[in-house]
Amino acid sequence: MSLTRQDVEKIAHLARLSITEEEMPGYVGSLSSIVSFVDDLSRMQTGDVEPMAHPLEGQHQRLRADVVTESDNHEKYQAIAPSIASGLYVVPRVIE
């Protein structure tokens, strides 16, 4: 199954990845090849088997009491941020 350039552009946009002009043909080729490879699955008989999201049976999301257990480490964690102002992460203007 071959993907088109438009397909790859759309996927790259959804994934928030910039792909350069030079890189594009390579990704169209390799993604087409990968999708063809996994297409084999669509031919398999699976009947009404339940999909399996977790490798172990009977696991449930563990819950805990709704109490604060973490401490405030924001200074330590923000020390490695690209851009900080007043304890906030700075990004290019979002709202005009």
């Binding site: 928030r16 910039s18 399996m52």
Partner: protein, 484 residues
């Protein structure tokens, strides 16, 4: 030579105060200095910290504390967060990331007294089977430096094989411990999903990832696994099942053990590779095990299933890398979208981008049912096949890889060819089963691995079977030329 002693022998000498942890650490740091550049096995070296930690271990020993890992050097795969130390995950995206906390694996091994020498090179974000996708360059196999060590834990495997450390940690999502262990002639253990905490282990595929260990023998790996295993409240997928005494269980006799030979693994396997596995089966028979053939009919679908599920999960996990809170940020972003796209486009390598895009595609509207949901159904069929097999046998056996190590550069241009290296290892990840690779011989002077797979939480049985094999053979004692 110190680096040829087992972890047990080293611990004896440390406990008897015949050598100090500082001496031992210096010995390994000297080896890293001598061989590090050739193999490119490490991304970060933490020499000063190691000597400080070794001095601490010596103080603990002086106070009378004893333990199988106290004062023993280790190298951690660069996927485990290490407080105050760069944790790059083999990627430009995290080249500037100084982790602000320790992974549980790191904490537990630290408490047991290990001395961290550095962080091991790896395929970027654990995606690869050759350690060629690392931002920091490929790792070389100490058995033949033109060859790959395997991946994604290639640095950890090469370091252990080259005796740069007696123990190294790794992770295994589709075979990333077992496959490099096989290609570098060492022992690699992937525990049951949920056995070892994933807290602080940078996530690739959350339903498949598992932390494990490399060592030169099962007897060496056992105390490391002991320290790493066990429930952790900070990992919501951690399972609260008691951890047996792995070391005490090693000596149990193998008489009556039922070993299943996986028929599908031998189809198309080259004769010389198959012969090594058959030799290993004879060893097991001599040890009193029974062998019988079993079939897992859906197993051939495991590679395409994995290459839907793992990319899907990775596309979700890697969405956190956005240039905002940590990691790589592109220069002069025009707007928020440009910030995201170029930070990610420039920060991630090609294989990572391929897998993110594959995952995005199979999860997207209109394709979700045909690919992702379908793959999850096939995953259940594969898991059911394993479950059925384990009603007849105690363990499964087969090769770890289809071939020995290949040349650096030979397969990097075709993703699908590279993916097929994982053909024997992926099934265990899909089913959450524990698996192990043991050295079992050589083909063209390069090591090959024997794989054992057990039911959930049967690590003790696996380790015992592995130890039995290593007590009757000496493949695991061989060292690559020049690294003895």
């Amino acid at each position: 030579m110190l680096h040829n002693l087992s972890v047990g022998e080293l611990a004896e000498r440390l406990n008897a105060r015949q050598i100090s942890s500082v001496e031992l650490t210096r010995h390994y740091l000297a080896r890293i200095d001598r061989f590090g550049a050739t193999l490119n096995a490490l991304i970060s070296l933490t020499a000063e910290r190691a000597l400080a930690d070794a001095a601490q271990a010596d103080l603990r020993l002086a106070r009378g504390e004893r333990g199988p890992l106290l004062g023993i050097p280790i190298i951690h795969k660069d996927i485990f967060c290490t407080d105050g130390v760069r944790t790059s995950c083999g990627s430009r995206m995290l080249d500037n990331f100084i982790a602000p906390y320790d992974a549980t694996v790191v904490t537990r091994l630290k408490e047991a007294g290990v001395v961290m020498l550095g962080k091991a090179n790896m395929d970027e974000f654990a995606m690869g089977s050759s350690n060629e996708t690392s931002y920091y360059g490929p790792v070389r196999n100490p058995w033949n430096t033109r060859k790959v060590p395997g991946g994604s834990s290639g640095g950890s495997a090469a370091a252990a094989a080259a005796r740069l450390a007696p123990l190294t940690t790794g992770t295994d999502t589709g075979g990333s411990i077992r496959q490099p262990a096989a290609l570098t002639g060492i022992t690699g253990v992937k525990p049951t999903y949920g056995r070892v905490s994933r807290y602080g282990m940078i996530a690739f595929a959350s339903s498949l990832d598992q932390a494990g260990v490399f060592a030169r023998s099962v007897a060496d790996a056992a105390p490391a696994l002991q320290a790493m295993a066990g429930f952790d409240a900070r990992d919501s997928t951690s399972v609260d099942v008691p951890v047996p005494d792995y070391t005490a269980g090693l000596q149990k006799p193998l008489k009556g053990l039922k070993i299943g030979i996986l028929r599908e693994f031998f189809e198309g396997l080259e004769a010389r590779n198959a012969a090594l596995i058959h030799d290993a089966l004879k060893v097991y028979q001599e040890l009193g095990a029974q062998t019988l053939e079993v079939s897992l009919p859906h197993l051939p679908a495991s590679v395409p299933t994995y290459y839907v599920v793992a990319p899907a999960e990775c596309s979700s996990n890697l969405s956190r890398f956005d240039g905002v809170r940590y990691g790589y940020r592109c220069e002069n972003p025009k707007d928020l979208m440009d910030l995201y796209k170029r930070s990610r486009g420039e920060g991630f390598g090609a294989e990572v981008k391929r897998r993110i895009m594959t995952g995005t595609y199979v999860l997207s509207a209109g394709y979700f049912d045909a690919y992702y949901l379908k793959a999850q159904k096939v995953r259940r069929l594969i898991t059911d096949d394993f479950r059925a097999a384990f009603t007849q046998v105690d363990l499964l056996i087969g090769p770890t890889t289809p071939t020995p190590a290949f040349d650096i550069g030979a397969k990097i241009d075709d993703p699908v060819t590279m993916y097929l290296n994982d053909i024997y290892t992926i099934g265990a990840n899909l089913a959450g089963l524990p698996g192990m690779s043991l050295p079992c011989g050589f083909v063209d002077g390069l090591p090959m691995g024997l794989q054992l797979i057990g039911p959930h939480f049967s690590e003790d049985r696996l380790l015992c079977a592995g130890h039995g094999y290593q007590s009757a053979t000496d493949w695991h004692t061989r060292a690559p030329k020049g690294y003895e």
